[in-house]
């Protein structure tokens, strides 16, 4: 029961951190809840399919199918996140935090929101399924333990994630939209650099792949705090120069675009 609750707790928390950021940065978007639920259901379904087909994926592309698949979903999620932030900045009235009625006819932010959530769930979900299924298969622990362990992990992860979400809203106050948007851009940059790391792991990217620094002494990869820092800012104790460059370029490009769009909007309203 214990290892199941720990693994589920960790994975659910990672999902919750992403959910909290995308949900609070799309505050006021019409039909947002439908997009969130669609994303959750799609993510859960995709997790099951991936769990069932992972052996096929692992033999594809000279054994590197999993890496290519993860690189693809990571790049997709990071671009969708950046896109959502840019769209929201463009259409949200910063005074009311409400989206202009005319702008809500575009289905784009709803689709990107669903895709981001589905990917967040897929990434962690198939791992949860395979881990739990393995324990059921070997009869290593009883059904009662699996169910209570899963519920405990799910509850603890969701509660901590929800606390983080409420805390962020309370702390940020009126600036919640700006702060969560910035956080989302950092998350997206982290995912983009993790996507590149997957291409390095797939042995198909060899430029600047030596570790740039080692901050293991400060925050060790694999620790709980490091995992959260990874989800939020893409933290790595031993990043390669390639990943750092990817991260920096992503941030510069998205913040520049975001700032430009913002000034265009100001000129329009002036």
């Amino acid at each position: 029961m214990f290892p199941i609750s720990v693994i589920i707790f960790r994975e659910v928390l990672e999902i919750a951190l992403i959910l909290a950021a995308v949900i609070s940065s799309t505050e006021g978007l019409a039909k947002r809840n439908i997009a969130i639920i669609t994303g959750c259901i799609t993510g859960a379904a995709a997790s099951s399919i991936l769990a069932l087909t992972i052996h096929k994926l692992n033999t594809a592309f000279d054994g590197m199918g999993q890496e290519y698949f993860l690189a693809t979903i990571l790049f997709t999620a990071s671009i969708m996140m950046a896109w959502t932030v840019l769209w929201m900045r463009r259409h949200a009235s910063t005074l009311k935090g409400k989206i202009h009625q005319a702008a809500t006819h575009s289905p784009l932010p709803l689709i990107t929101l669903s895709v981001i959530i589905a990917i967040a769930i897929l990434r962690e979900g198939f791992e949860i399924i395979l881990f739990t299924y393995g324990h059921i298969q070997t009869n290593a622990i009883s059904w009662i333990d699996i169910i209570t362990g899963s519920i405990m992990g799910l509850t603890a992860g969701s509660l901590l994630g929800y606390t983080w979400y409420r805390g962020m809203i309370t702390f940020a106050g009126r600036h919640v939209f700006t702060i969560t948007s910035i956080l989302l851009v950092f998350m997206a940059a982290g995912m983009a650099s993790q996507g590149l790391h997957m291409l390095i792991a797939a042995d198909s990217f060899h430029l600047f792949t030596a570790p740039l620094w080692d901050s293991t002494w400060l925050l060790k990869d694999g620790s709980m705090v490091a995992k959260m820092a990874k989800s939020l800012f893409g933290y790595q104790a031993r990043p390669t120069l390639a990943e750092v460059l990817m991260y920096a370029i992503f941030l510069i490009v998205v913040f520049t675009l975001s700032w430009r769009k913002h000034t265009i909007l100001k000129q329009h309203t002036a």
Partner: protein, 110 residues
């Protein structure tokens, strides 16, 4: 957005063109009863390493190494490849995240 997409496309094509860059050293590891065999691998430094992992258990395992910065799910009764290196001299621990009590191993680069 187009700029970003262009950059990513560049990265991917550039990376792909490098695929056949150099030969790599291949090694095999099996997982049985949630244990790695061999649990210690001697590899040369400054070489690309391809590690084929054969999971003989019926349950899935996750090969994970913070030192090598690799994590990969392996389904039950199946095999996959983990690639890493060039490494500098040292010991790099790895473990099976689903059964960390028993599944422990290390790569020693020298």
């Amino acid at each position: 957005m187009r700029l970003l997409a262009g950059f990513i496309t560049f990265l991917i094509t550039f990376g792909a063109s490098y695929t056949t860059w150099s030969g790599s050293y291949t090694y095999n590891v099996t997982i049985k009863n949630h244990q790695f065999e061999p649990a210690e691998l001697l590899v040369p430094t400054d070489k690309r390493i391809k590690l084929t992992i054969h999971n003989l258990d019926s349950t899935a395992e996750e090969f994970e190494s913070d030192d090598l910065r690799r994590e990969k799910i392996i389904a039950g009764n199946s095999s996959t490849v983990v690639s890493f290196g060039p490494l500098s001299a040292g010991t790099y621990n790895f473990f099976g995240e689903f059964h960390p009590d028993t599944a422990q191993g290390k790569v020693v680069a020298q």
